[in-house]
């Protein structure tokens, strides 16, 4: 079966005590990097766990390359490389032992690729996993994920806790991977600057719901932050107003059509292009105020 999407998530619901996913729907086209952003506790990890069939949804469906992720579990997972926020490997075993134990599960596992990447990332293959720093553990998880020619990489907060040098290195490698090999990546993070560098699509998760799922370029070109006095909010078309917060000097408003707002408000307000950080902060400001 061929499909244009690497991931299709439709109507996911999952209820936990005090939290739930509500009708989560988004798609990631093949060959693109999708970023899941949102504050801590928004539901990003739960969505990734559902895609990986680690968590069972109450309802909804997940398709990976057009295949249901549960009925075709083995086929789907053999095409996915995964990196979790806390890399879970057997702490008292060497990295080489993990390669021997885990590599055999993947039909396209390539020892030469593993060795090349391990050498590039300077991994100490004979050392036990639990003596490595968090950064090196993440590097190892990434090498494992990249050594079986996965068509889709799923990474949950892979850059959290990493130093800026390795974060940049990791992001560069992901970009190269996509340019050279046409792989797809789903990447969750709350460090939005990482996604601004490499993502093609951005999905914001807020309180277990998809606030939006858009191409990053469209978002960064059309969305803007307007700064002005409190009366500004009343004059912005509500359909364009995506979030706001009060500041010492007045208010900041996130709008989804900069030129329309500029035409309406003219020079009374300051309008700047929105960054992903602005988008996340302003769209979740009301939730934080309410909390």
């Amino acid at each position: 079966m061929t499909t244009d999407y690497a991931i299709e998530v439709t109507g996911l619901r999952k209820r936990f005590k005090g939290f739930g996913l509500k009708d989560v729907t988004f798609q990631l086209p093949r060959g693109y990097i999708g970023g899941l952003i949102g504050p801590n506790g928004a539901g990003k990890t739960t969505i990734i766990k559902i895609i990986m069939n680690l968590v069972r949804p109450d309802s909804g469906s997940v398709k990976v390359f057009g295949l249901d992720h549960r009925t075709h579990e083995v086929e789907v997972k053999s095409r996915i490389g995964f990196v979790y926020d806390v890399p879970g490997f057997w702490g008292d075993m060497s990295l080489n032992a993990h390669r021997r134990a885990i590599g055999r599960f993947y039909p396209r596992w390539n020892d030469a690729t593993f060795d090349r990447l391990a050498s590039e990332f300077e991994l100490p293959l004979n050392k036990h996993f639990n003596v490595l720093s968090h950064g090196v553990q993440t590097k190892f998880a990434l090498v494992m994920a990249l050594s079986h020619d996965a068509d889709l990489l799923i990474m949950d907060e892979p850059t959290a806790g990493l130093d800026p040098i390795f974060r940049r290195e990791l992001l560069q490698r992901l970009s190269t991977l996509l340019q050279d090999e046409g792989k797809s990546v789903l990447f969750s993070t709350h460090i939005t600057s990482d996604l601004a560098r490499i993502a093609d699509f951005i999905t914001l998760i807020r309180n277990g719901e998809v606030a939006f799922s858009l191409p990053k370029d469209e978002l960064l070109e059309q969305w803007a932050v307007a700064r002005g006095d409190a009366s500004m909010l009343r004059r912005i078309d509500p359909s364009l107003l995506r979030g706001s917060r009060r500041r010492a000097f007045g208010v900041e408003a996130l709008v989804s059509d900069a030129s329309a707002v500029r035409n309406t408000l003219g020079s009374e307000v300051v309008i700047d292009k929105a960054t992903l950080d602005d988008v996340m902060v302003l769209m979740t400001a009301e939730d934080r105020d309410a909390a």
């Binding site: 990986m52 086929e75 979790y84 890399p87 057997w90 702490g91 008292d92 599960f105 996993f129």
Partner: protein, 225 residues
């Protein structure tokens, strides 16, 4: 797929298996000196089965369950493998224990006494029942689940004893009936011979294992990792 899971567990838990091996060598070598080897064989078998059941504890300790469940295998594969591995290790432990028992120079055991079919069957039944009782708890709730389950069984046993004593008078009139049933079963076994008894025992073990396996699959497929 099952072979891959077996290799994975042997590679990543090799130290546990090695430690287990030395433990069995020591137990078996010591048991060679005692009279009546049956108990040592059965204890060894149950210990081996329990060790396999609790292999999941290492995954929990290292937060590696998410990695295991993210590999290209189904949850049913994982459950099937755990039951098979438990039985394999149990059988291996029984034979290892028996071999060492008779092989050590100070052994007081006769080969036919150690390799007595009844003892072997009893040991294998103990392996299967240990796995059948423990695996659903461990697979669903982790090792803590096993201890809660075992604790629960102890409490249930105590409650049964207390309740039995309390209503003993009421049951006195029925005791003869129960004894009659017991005698009937024993005489049926005696008239059928040991072959039929073996078939009956194996069938019962297979039934219990199958029910435990189905329960484990049902629980694991609903487990959030």
């Amino acid at each position: 797929m099952l072979r891959k899971l077996l290799v994975k567990d042997f590679v990543l838990n090799g130290k546990v298996f090695l430690g287990l091996l030395w433990l069995f060598v020591w137990v078996a070598a010591t048991a060679g000196k005692v009279s009546g080897p049956g108990l040592a064989i059965v204890i060894g078998a149950v210990a081996a089965a329990l060790m396999t059941v609790t292999l999941g504890a290492r995954e929990e300790r290292f937060h590696a369950a998410a990695t295991s469940f993210s590999l290209p295998v189904t949850r049913r594969n994982i459950v099937t493998y755990r039951y098979l591995a438990g039985h394999l290790v149990g059988v291996a432990a029984v034979f290892l224990t028996c071999l060492i028992m008779v092989a050590v120079p100070w052994s007081k055991q006769a080969v036919d006494q150690v390799f007595d079919p009844r003892t072997m069957m009893f040991a294998m039944a103990a392996v299967s029942l240990t796995i059948a009782a423990g695996m659903p708890f461990v697979l669903r709730f982790g090792v803590a689940g096993l201890f809660v389950g075992l604790g629960g069984l102890q409490v249930l046993g105590l409650v049964s004893v207390v309740a039995g004593a309390a209503i003993a008078t009421a049951l006195a009139t029925r005791r003869e009936f129960v004894r009659a049933c017991e005698q009937t079963i024993i005489s049926i076994h005696q008239s059928l011979g040991s072959g039929a008894y073996a078939v009956e025992l194996l069938s019962a073990i297979a039934l219990v294992t199958w029910a435990s396996f189905r329960l484990s699959v049902w629980l694991v497929e609903r487990r959030d990792v």
